[in-house]
């Protein structure tokens, strides 16, 4: 086997990988990005539930014990399949103590300290503020319901170009219209312009020593239809390795590397957070919605518009209050989940038989147009722990694409359960007021809890006992290996985490550049921020 070499090897092409790829390539380093998923762009993003279309090619669903994870599996990572809600984390988050009884985040990081990095990412994507004219029926209904209960509601900052958006609600399958500001429209094309190389369907398995302080990254190439099949393997040596495979995939790579690299920090594969996430589903009483909220569509309906939209657009932030105790703080955001993923776990209120399947569940589906989903982001206790890694990748793959069984175990603590219960109760209070709707949380009995925002499984911190990375994102005890994805975020954020993951990655870059220079890479920091393009970057012709 021929071993290739590069200056900087990046594992994963989501926010953590793409931001690093751009800055290091623009600074003059030779950058190679290995991405386990395929390279898709606008023309590949299907409006189709057929297995093998873009939503199964680009998505990863890994069932664990007590927690299931959804994540990206393509060039651009989570940014291709995310809903592009991009709020900053509230200030109190950075002072969280969580389960360790003292501040979890590094002393160097606060909301104020992170704001300049938030600004940079917001400029690049860009993040835009919506006005009420941009808000979809489902978002408007949630806003009106909050208002009816005496609560505020905010249009959420987003990475969506409203002029190109068709409100098709297919953003989980990638945006066909390039309205969603994925990394295929900014950091990645800019990194390519500066010579970065991106290799799709390259799944990294482990890292070993290559001598002279360099690392060797071992990968398998995967079949482009059946991801269970390895079509080859290879090795690349690098002076710097940046692990950004996502919070569900970074720990198995590092755990598998322990045999050759030596002991990993205790916090690798521990302190996983599901961002405290929870979903509630409401069925709206259309007549009451018209009467109570005074809403009416041009077609005469009050609502019946669940299918229409662009993911989450309105959130209630009344419980993001620094004065409230930890675990009592949460946000409530309207959301859309397509049928399939979004219907299986929905429960029937007051069911006389099974609540999540059967006759009564089928009746609930008939009212799908009047559904409203509310996404809760609470403060969990970082209680997730990864077991032994699977032989390859981050799961035992069951299906050709998307579905796998992973080693994560998540047993919610009383704090987490209380936070979920409080948030559930608040949604119920708001939406059931005066008979507006009936509400039930999704069941946790089928695939455990679930998160679309896995975090913290290899986190930054000041305390070596409870953090795997120092505040420069360097893996403790393994100089030259950095982690810049969602696994580095130390705690649940109570809001959508993409902008925070990206801001932390931007913040980590100067330190990574300095480390690269120390290791003999001719690279500088300070390239201008990338300019967004209008067409998602496609895989270069072979």
């Amino acid at each position: 086997m021929t071993t290739e070499s590069t200056d900087v090897l990046i594992i994963g092409s989501g926010f953590g990988g793409s931001i690093a790829a751009y800055h290091l390539a623009a600074g003059g380093a030779k950058v190679t990005v290995l991405e386990r998923g395929p390279w898709l762009s606008a023309k590949d993003f299907d409006h189709d539930y057929l297995l093998g279309s873009s939503y199964t090619r680009a998505f990863d669903f890994v069932a664990g014990d007590g927690m299931s994870l959804l994540g990206g599996n393509c060039v651009g990572g989570g940014s291709v399949v995310y809903f592009a809600a991009l709020p900053r984390a509230p200030g109190f988050v950075f002072d969280r103590q969580g389960s360790i009884g003292r501040r979890v985040w590094p002393a160097a990081i606060s909301r104020e300290a992170l704001n300049p990095w938030y600004d940079r990412v917001s400029e690049v994507l860009p993040v835009t503020q919506q006005d009420w004219g941009d808000i979809t029926y489902s978002g408007g209904l949630w806003a009106a319901a909050c208002n009816h209960s005496g609560h505020t509601a905010n249009p959420v900052p987003v990475g969506v170009d409203a002029s190109r958006c068709t409100n098709c609600n297919w953003m989980m399958a990638g945006c066909r219209f390039d309205a969603k500001q994925s990394l295929l429209l900014n950091y990645l094309p800019a990194a390519l312009q500066h010579g970065a190389e991106i290799r799709p369907l390259h799944e990294v398995q482990k890292i070993s020593h290559a001598g002279d302080g360099r690392y060797r990254v071992h990968y398998n190439t995967l079949d482009d239809v059946d991801y269970r099949v390895a079509t080859g393997s290879g090795e690349i040596d690098a002076k710097i390795v940046i692990v950004a495979a996502g919070a569900g995939a970074t720990p198995p790579i590092l755990q598998r590397s322990e045999e050759t690299l030596g002991t990993m920090p205790h916090a690798v594969g521990r302190y996983f957070s599901g961002n405290g996430e929870r979903l509630n589903n409401a069925v709206i009483n259309e007549e009451r919605a018209a009467e109570l909220l005074g809403i009416r569509r041009p077609n005469g309906k009050a609502y019946e518009a669940y299918q229409i939209g662009k993911g989450p657009v309105v959130a209630c932030w009344d419980f993001l209050d620094a004065g409230l105790p930890e675990y009592d703080r949460f946000s409530m955001e309207q959301l859309f989940f397509p049928p399939g993923l979004g219907t299986i776990l929905t429960q029937v209120q007051d069911a006389t038989g099974p609540s999540w399947f059967g006759r009564e569940k089928k009746e609930l589906l008939r009212r799908w147009k009047s559904w409203l989903t509310i996404f809760l982001m609470t403060e969990d206790d970082n209680e997730g722990v990864f077991g032994a890694p699977p032989p390859t990748g981050n799961s035992f793959r069951i299906s050709q694409q998307m579905l796998g069984r992973g080693p994560l175990r998540y047993d919610p603590t009383p704090n987490t359960l209380r936070g979920w219960a409080q948030a559930d109760a608040k949604v119920k209070e708001i939406l059931e007021k005066d008979g507006l709707a009936t509400v039930m949380p999704w069941t946790n009995d089928v695939v455990g809890a679930y998160t679309v925002h896995p975090l913290s499984s290899c986190r930054i911190g000041d305390d070596p006992a409870t953090s795997a990375l120092d505040d420069r994102h360097e893996l403790r005890g393994h100089p030259g290996i950095f982690v810049t994805d969602g696994s580095a975020v130390p705690t649940a954020l109570t809001v959508n985490p993409a902008l925070t993951i990206a801001a932390l990655a931007e913040r980590a870059i100067p330190g990574i550049v300095a480390a690269a220079r120390d290791r003999g890479v001719d690279v500088t920091y300070g390239a201008p921020l990338p300019k967004a393009v209008t067409n998602s970057v496609a895989r270069p012709a072979a």
């Binding site: 806003a143 059946d226 809403i295 939209g309 932030w317 299986i344 008939r366 032989p391 069984r405």
Partner: protein
């Protein structure tokens, strides 16, 4: 009782996936044997899918379908076609799961005092409410076999909700139940969805007073 292998055909390549935590559930094998050794196995899985999303009987003496509703359900939407689709990766586990389900149904009948007709598989012979109760038991947290049953539940659900073994445009054009029952809108002529009428276009709540200049919480 040991859980069977769940697996499917992967061209002519051999794939093996196994995990201690799952027993042998996820071992995937490629072989040339038929998925079902007899029709009763298929009938049993139809009865399982019909318990998840019930449908109307396809013909008067349709035993697999319990017939507790009067419109098509998961079986009519193609649950069995989906389960044997190589993309799902579960085909090789279907026959053993079917046999296990009938064994469980027999034991269930014995402990609940039910007398089952013996001209059909035991699970098929169970009345609908008892089929549902048994599936609730098999999928309950803590059941050591639940991984296999949950996968069957998920695909049975998906067969009805999104018919993922067929192109969605065809499903909607042909009037296959499920997505249409949900009230799912049809796409434009190019197969893509666009909703130019998408919002109320007016302020419907006050923003949080501590919203920052960037539009985020403070």
């Amino acid at each position: 009782m040991e859980m069977p292998a769940l697996g499917g055909r992967c061209d002519n390549r051999y794939v093996e996936i196994s995990a201690d935590s799952l027993g042998d559930v996820l071992e995937v094998r490629v072989d040339a044997t038929p998925i079902f050794s007899d029709e009763s196995q298929k009938m049993t899985l139809e009865a399982f899918a019909d318990t998840i999303v019930p449908g109307v009987k396809r013909f008067p003496d349709d035993r697999a379908i319990a017939g507790v509703v009067d419109d098509p359900g998961a079986v009519a939407a193609g649950a069995l076609d989906l389960l044997v689709d190589p993309a799902t990766g579960v085909a090789a586990g279907l026959a053993p799961l079917s046999d296990m389900l009938n064994a469980h149904a027999g034991a269930y009948a014995e402990r609940t005092g039910l007398t089952l007709e013996d001209d059909v598989p035991a699970f098929v012979a169970l009345p609908y409410e008892h089929r549902a109760e048994l599936i609730s038991e098999l999928t309950a947290p803590g059941n050591p076999e639940r991984d296999g049953w949950i996968v069957l539940v998920m695909f049975s659900n998906m067969a009805y909700d999104i018919v993922p073994h067929r192109p969605t445009e065809d499903v909607l054009a042909e009037g296959v139940p499920s997505l249409l029952t949900l009230g799912y809108a049809k796409p434009d002529s190019d197969g893509l969805w666009r909703f130019p009428d998408f919002g109320y276009n007016r302020e419907l709540a006050k923003r949080h007073p501590n919203t920052t200049e960037s539009g985020s919480p403070e």
